[in-house]
Symmetry: D2
Subunit: 431 residues, 4 copies
């Protein structure tokens, strides 16, 4: 035991607790025929929780963690503490990038050796604790070699480095029984169009993604390949802007059946959407994979990656997920970082526990709304006109025959109330 968390014991479900506990998240409680833990499939993000130093664009490190510094010893201690926290939280999953678990080496080979040593430690700890890997991913944006992109870099050697890195991370994810593999193209985009060949970059990005899919099949990885959309930051424009854009790219590359999406609330907001919009659209397109349940501050124009705290909003998100039939390989990752002033180990626990409770409340509200058919009955009624044979026939016809019918029947439609406020009231009876 590392003693980082002192004598803290695993949190339990205890609505009347005074200290840290789950007041709403009850892992074994059955909701819509499934245990809450199997609905929510929580994962802790290794990078924000254990590798982020607390810096921002105007200030450096605030956190003081005994494992900081780029050494293997630090990396082992970090893994120790991480799995302790997973157990305190009862988190069934975690997620990692290569760069947050191992020190950077002098070259590719050394970085890979460092990485693989930690992966082996992970394997042991996962066996011992029962914690699973929701997804692995490669960090292709922090090191200066990626400053102009990874797969979309003007330098083909960076493409090569990136390809080798993804292979390594996908191998590790496969080895650890990971359920998904995520690609976030942090610098696949541009700072200025003036120096950018967008057509070439998009082609290279497509080719890269195809290689990843091919390799997944080659090694028999059964998990899902996921892309995480984000519109901008650090770049001025990222090619995986939002769900619609990623789907457009997937169609161009012929990969829309191979790749799904990992959708983050904060990125939805940055792209000018609501989270539920992005989830609903992904569901309709058949590419809803997994979520990063971390909010942005509506007031801040950058990615604040905060733990979720607004139950009504979270309820609408899970509503879309439940309508999609729930997660398959996906889950609820907290791609969230502590505020940089939240210095203490207990802040890490508070933050995750509070977020898990918020998600549990949202899930239960969403499930009940669905069970009661509270919203869906209204929705069906609104579109009922389309169920008639005449309406369906019209859809199969053409402009001329429709025009004739408009004239012949003197069609002159009267609008009907959309009842938005009433529907919002209905939601408020559940949250």
């Amino acid at each position: 035991m590392s003693q980082f968390f002192g004598d803290m014991t695993p949190l339990t479900f205890n609505p009347d607790a005074d200290g840290p506990a789950f007041r709403h998240y009850n892992p074994e409680e059955v909701v819509l025929g499934k245990k809450m833990k199997d609905h929510l499939r929580f994962a802790v993000a290794y990078w924000h929780s254990f590798a982020w130093p607390g810096g921002d664009p105007f200030g450096g490190q605030t956190f003081d963690r005994p494992w900081f510094g780029e050494t293997m010893e630090g990396a082992r201690l970090k893994a120790e503490v991480a799995f302790e926290m997973f157990q305190i939280l009862g988190a069934p999953y975690f997620c990692f990038h290569d760069a947050d678990i191992r020190p950077e080496g002098a070259d590719f080979a050394e970085s890979r050796r460092n990485f693989e040593e930690i992966i082996d430690i992970f394997g042991e700890k996962m066996s011992q604790t029962g914690v699973g890997l929701l997804w692995g991913t490669a960090n292709l944006f922090s090191h200066r070699r990626f400053m102009s992109g990874a797969a979309t870099n003007p330098d083909p050697d960076v493409f090569a480095w990136s390809a080798a890195t993804v292979k390594t991370c996908l191998d590790a994810t496969h080895k650890l029984g990971g359920e998904n593999y995520v690609l976030w193209g942090g610098r696949e985009g541009y700072e200025t169009l003036l120096n950018t060949d967008m057509g070439a970059e998009l082609d290279h990005m497509g080719r890269f993604l195809s290689m990843v899919v091919d390799y997944k099949h080659k090694i028999g990885f059964k998990g899902t390949i996921l892309i995480e959309p984000k519109p901008q930051e650090p770049t001025k424009h990222q090619y995986d802007y939002d769900v619609a854009t990623v789907y457009s790219n997937l169609q161009r590359f012929g990969l829309e059946k191979e790749v799904k999406l990992n959708i983050e609330q904060g990125h939805a907001i940055l792209a000018g959407h609501s989270f539920e919009h992005e989830l609903a659209l992904a569901r309709e397109l058949g590419v809803l994979g997994s979520i990063d349940m971390n909010r942005n501050d509506y007031q801040s124009g950058w990615d604040t990656d905060q733990f979720p705290n607004n139950v009504p909003e979270v309820a609408l998100a899970y509503y879309e997920i439940l309508k999609a039939g729930g997660f398959e390989t996906g889950g609820t990752n907290f791609d969230s970082k502590l505020r940089r002033q939240s210095l203490d180990p207990s802040d890490l626990i508070e933050a995750h526990a509070g977020a898990m409770d918020v998600c549990a409340r949202g899930l239960k509200a969403a499930a009940k709304m669905l069970e009661d058919d509270a919203l869906e009955a209204e929705r069906r009624a609104r579109y009922a006109g389309w169920e008639t044979p005449e309406a369906q026939a019209m859809l199969g016809s053409d402009l001329e025959s429709i025009t004739e019918r408009v004239l012949a029947e003197g069609i002159n439609p009267e609008p009907r109330s959309g009842r938005q406020e009433k529907l919002e009231n209905i939601v408020n009876r559940y949250v």
Copy 2:
């Protein structure tokens, strides 16, 4: 003559003029082997210039035009004045919606009769003046029947009405020799997901668009079908959010070879992009059709539809268009309205003349940058590494062989300067 514009005579190119004149737009001047007028292909928007009363969400009509009021007499006077203005400006084209040229009738048939009478007047005036129709379109958003959408309305009768309306407008556009037909889905979207069946609505939208394309072919219309993206406003979300989203939809509907885009600066801004981004992306996707060259105020979160006034920005837009080979059927439409305090007829002339000059300056700067290879030489140099056989071979290979090469060759890429400031300086030598 209507006397609306007093004794104003057609504007001429006269850099030293004191009063209204073109100081930069010289229609016959040859730029990159083509006359400026044939590059720019200016069009006046009928709706903003002649039908908009000057209202905003907090106030009503400010303009006082003798043709206001929903009468055929007014509609005829409006047409009179419009063509007078086209001639004062030397505008080669105009654009219209059905609703801005004719009074609404009691039913579909009467509205259509009104519309067709004005279309005949347009036909005559076009013959007399040589003014052409850049595009026609249907207004499927202003009347209350469209409050919940047109093709995506929950009521199939609204779909029918909309289909009949588009047929009518496409027929008219064809009759007048229009070069394009535009669809702007002003209310194809939603106010709240709570009452929306997004999947059904997208399907109906796709079916509608296919009918339009089929009908175009049936009647032999040789112009281009264009969709105008806009992310939101009046709705909370519009399905034609931006270039990438429209292209995604087109691929789903199998129409990406049939339909191109009409891209507006203001809508690009609202979607979180730059105008040049949207143009470059459309070019790379092969769907760059036409432009609405009206800016939004960066400070205002809604569609201000102002006349362009910033030459450096306009230059970057035409640069992307020139790189695409220039307009084919498309052109430069001013989907711009006067500020509501700009009450006088002379303001209409000032606004258009100033905008045409700004575009002329932008075009000339862009053309010279291309001619000098000023930016393109830098861009090619930046991506030169991809021209090698090794790089091309890598693109055709797979993760494993690339990884082997990274290890074998000890690939360890060093970043090179992106030179953004230098490139911005280069642009500033032209604008």
Copy 3:
């Protein structure tokens, strides 16, 4: 009885109701020693509920109300229906502009006669029903005469017209026993700096406001003069941008003891703040007067004026108000409009009833947090260092003596956790 609302009877508090009812708002329930109705002091906005036709920048009227049209008969019917709704809702207050209660006359005198006739009707109805006037105000932005501002118009005649209008409205508010008088400077600002003399306009605005305050005292009006900040829309910039800006102006005009603020959630958002920020700042400055409890959509860059629906957010707003000691003359006005697709009379009732419940839930949560000292104990602990005599002495000293002490004592402060996530969890135990 007008029959507009059919046979709808006054809503009652009934948590188990199936249809329209209050599930949380229980007017007589005592919270922190005061009845809920006396805490919340709900008011219905006349303009949005009864005068707004449902238009937006891309479409016209959707609502179909029997009183529409600029006639006195319509105005009387509108008053009839309005007071029926106040009684159905049990709303203790309403608010009005002159322009939404009477038809515009041919000149100032006729408009005033129309206005005063309706004011007399209001007086009778208020006596009969016990409904009070939270505030009156003048609409100095809708008519075209105000297109360039009211008090800040380049034309002194518009200043004069505006002054006469405010006098009329203040007289009426006084006569009806109104508790406040509000000024919202809808067009006191500019569209472009190029034609604006900002210094002169600010001076005129200050002089105008002083006249209003002087007149209030002259007639013995005991209510509060309130300014409602808004940063922009319809203008590019409004001089009453936000709480800080209004307070700056008040200080310049020497009116900071005479005028308080009416703060709207939607306008707080547009200005880049949270609602609770604006409330807290106004409280600290001693100018917190009243609130407009209508939200904006975070996704839309304009003033959507929607009914509140997010309890956690509303709770944080009432928390700041309770910390200020609650409302004195102020109250909770819904400056909210139905969505333009919400066509039916029942939508008006649903919207208000839902909003009143959301406010009741927010109030109760806020009151309990205060009662439990849940947040305040943490806050006091964080600033406890400032309670020492040394710290207070330092505040009264100077840079030199402080520097000496830093050197002498080797002061080298260590940061302590800000505990944001824990505090957010605390809030979530109450909402």
Copy 4:
């Protein structure tokens, strides 16, 4: 000579140059009776140009400078290179924070010793080169001790540390003959209201500022104390939000005659304003001090601090400054950083030279507009009505007498065109 810039020689004014040169900035050229260099008073920012490593929230250092690392040797080399660059650019001024010129020491005393050693080096180099100090400032935001603010920190020891630091920096600025001293309250604000005592923090901030002003007078510093407004980032809310907010605070603290403002384009944008708005408002309030002429990207919701590149925008900014009579102690600081991909020494030169040219073009255009009375004549005509004795008398009267006059004279104002488009065209004839 450090050889960092190779054999680069000072840039000259040479419109026809091929390589780096000034094409528009001609320091000795007289504009409106004053040399360009005396109008513009350019300053280089030490921090961005020499201390910033190229990091962003998703990646670390990209620049590779021989002086990096927290050593005195590095600090001395950095100073060497900095003054070489000032001479290459012919920059008359520079600006610094304590933290970017010296390594952090183990305690306050050691940091001060390091600082003062470099200040002495600066003094020598300034004598040798003739480069002046536009302003000094203290960095009270980067070190973790400032994570919760400086003057507004919950810990009084941080207040003390900050006071001692400002004393030190003000002493140094005085010693070097600096013309201004700037305070930017990077973390004077909050991350969450939940843990913040806004009233106490504002009081402490006011007291701190008063101590600074008192100390300035005590030591006989004749320069101007400047506050730099910024609305947010790194915090969620900064107390010096914008010009209006700072002016409000200054009035509360009784310091509005003692303190002026340093206004940055990027911060104006973040606060929802235009740069020219902030400048015009500061001018009207009598607190326009100095500018940071670095732009933000309109598309990015954070402070991008880019070199200016849009002449029309820069022209409007200098127009407001010229209307204020030009700079007194203030000047044009570039608080700009290279894009993090701009790795090379030559990029530093290109960036500054391009920015200086853009400013020169803007200044010349603004001066000519003023000289020609092109905009001002229109503005005066628009407000001419206020020059009459009747209008002035009305301003001195009251609501009742104005109302009587409106009725007696039948005042019924007709709006007149605001001519925005025409005025924009006028500007475009100059830029």
